[in-house]
Symmetry: C2
Subunit: 338 residues, 2 copies
């Protein structure tokens, strides 16, 4: 650890200097319970004098805790920084943990190469627990986590629902239904959707909810394009949709970031929003209110989900439950785009 030649001071040196036993020194260092004022003062002075810091490895070898929890984001760093979903979640987790003594440690990296390393990190006991957040990709991080005993809560339901993992998520299918109902109510007769990836729960479920309502209304559900969550891919998908179905008059896009790109394409083609095509997004994290026109969207309650995930993880760490997954209801915010 140290560059300097001299080894880091240990508790025995503190104890010797303070004239107490190692046990007493230990209690005092932790602001302990049963220490006399004199002993505490002596220890504190000794600590200051020699610059003592407890060795975390030694400590957690016996306590079996590290006082840190990991936030795992199995995405590439570019995704992490472009999609506001992650910023919102991270902010929520941070504030929810601010009252505790837990240090937050962020593990970022695409699934694949670094995934094994991340899981090893967790299984080795580097963190007391983990919050895993992603746009629900079915990845090996989640699988590996499932067969480890590391306390964990997922933000975003895993693809494989049978995995013994606790999660929080928004009602994606319900959101898709809300979007479709709204578009139909506004008079759309030829609805289309730019859906998320077909191999992610969020993509699949948002699409399924939308399709359910559209089909129930006796309308076609064939105007569908799957993409990843990026703006570029969404723009391309929107282009294909318009080429194949020129009569589209209502568009549900699986995220606001993607919806903004879709509206850009519409504008580029001279198609008026909402006059000729009505658009509904998903997320409502600030961006939706800033687009032109402002975006009607399905609320993704990421702050509340993050808070809840933290509560559940803390409960797991204390052994007081926190193992029941929860799905948050959603709502539609109507703005100028529809």
């Amino acid at each position: 650890m140290t560059r300097t030649g001299s080894p880091a001071p240990t508790l025995v040196e503190v104890a010797r200097l303070a004239g107490v036993s190692r046990a007493t020194a230990s209690r005092a260092v932790r602001g302990g319970e049963r220490v006399s004022p004199e002993a505490r003062a002596a220890v504190e002075a000794a600590v200051r004098e020699i610059g003592y810091r407890p060795n975390q490895a030694a400590r957690s070898l016996v306590t079996r805790r590290t006082d840190s929890i990991a936030v795992v984001i199995p995405e590439s760093d570019s995704t992490l920084f472009t999609d506001p979903f992650f910023a919102t979640v991270l902010h929520g987790v941070t504030t929810a943990l601010s009252s505790t003594d837990l240090q937050i440690v962020l593990l970022v990296g695409q699934p694949g190469e670094r995934a094994a390393r991340m899981v090893n990190y967790l299984r080795a006991g580097h963190a007391d627990g983990a919050i895993v957040v992603s746009h629900h990709r079915m990845d090996n991080v989640v699988e590996a986590l499932a067969e480890s005993a590391v306390p964990a809560v997922l933000i975003g339901r895993p693809w494989d629902a049978s995995l013994p993992l606790t999660w929080v998520d928004v009602d994606n299918a319900g959101g898709g239904r809300l979007a479709a109902e709204h578009l139909l109510a506004r008079g759309a007769r030829r609805p289309a959707t730019v859906a998320g990836p077909a191999d992610m729960a969020a993509g699949r479920d948002r699409l399924a909810g939308w399709a359910e309502v559209v089909a129930a209304a006796g309308l076609a559900t064939d105007a569908v394009e799957h993409t990843d969550w990026t703006a570029d891919a969404a723009a391309a998908a929107t282009g294909r949709l318009l080429d194949d179905h020129p009569d589209v008059d209502g568009l549900f896009v699986a995220s606001d970031l993607m919806a903004e790109a879709a509206m850009e394409v519409l504008r580029g083609r001279g198609i008026a929003v909402p006059d000729r095509v009505r658009v509904v997004g998903f997320d409502d994290m600030g961006l939706a209110a800033r687009t032109r026109p402002p975006l009607t969207t399905v609320v993704n309650p990421a702050p509340a989900m993050s808070r809840r995930a933290v509560e559940m993880l803390l409960a797991q760490l204390e052994g007081t439950g926190g193992t029941e997954s929860v799905q948050f209801p959603t709502a539609l915010v109507v703005r100028g785009s529809s």
Copy 2:
């Protein structure tokens, strides 16, 4: 660590099951040097059978290494996610470390409340070393780090140059000079600047370089507004600048994110860029090419700096140097805004 009642398997159980000593088991687990094929096979089988994972705390208690390095970003999460500087640096650090076995751990949090926790985390030996990146704020994280013996490299020179810390940085003053020279060469006679915070090295130095050239040309250097690095503050500062000095014809803004906001204000006032006011930014990380008009800007070689910082840290960890700070030269990229 574990939720399950059964304690995690240890090396002694592996050894017993494999019919070897604890020492041999340990060597085999690490793909060790002097182990017979049979012993290795037996150990590997035992590991698989009981799902053994080495206990990191025990391991690093003796090796004094954790095989992880921390990237410390003492900024609020909103800053982290809005300014492309951090995304770029993180990407650079990640790729530079991808060939090693080191796990990257991200510590994010505003200086102040969580700063002590971050430094404690490092000093406790949770990570083998740290890369600290920020827009150079003078903060207690850096100070605390300076008096610890944790190997560290700063990306961005610390405010207090006397601190015994290693850093990499761009030649901020040189960048400011480049910007000013360019503006003057294009005919600006009333240059102004939206500068970064006065209490950060990057803010101070970019301003100083600009002022040096402007003064040398015999022009006034009084059109200066300090702001933090946010777009909102930059917009406000630009407004004040225009109010106070309506004859401004050249504007150097301390970051591209801020320059974009400044151009927005100019456009809102019907002031043509570059025809009436020429604008130069700082960073050139993708954003500059996407603004309208595209932004002339000073290159901030964040990818190269990140790579270098990683190399230096690795050298420090191996005790082979890496303690000499380095300043990167910069360059101007001319685009439509000037």
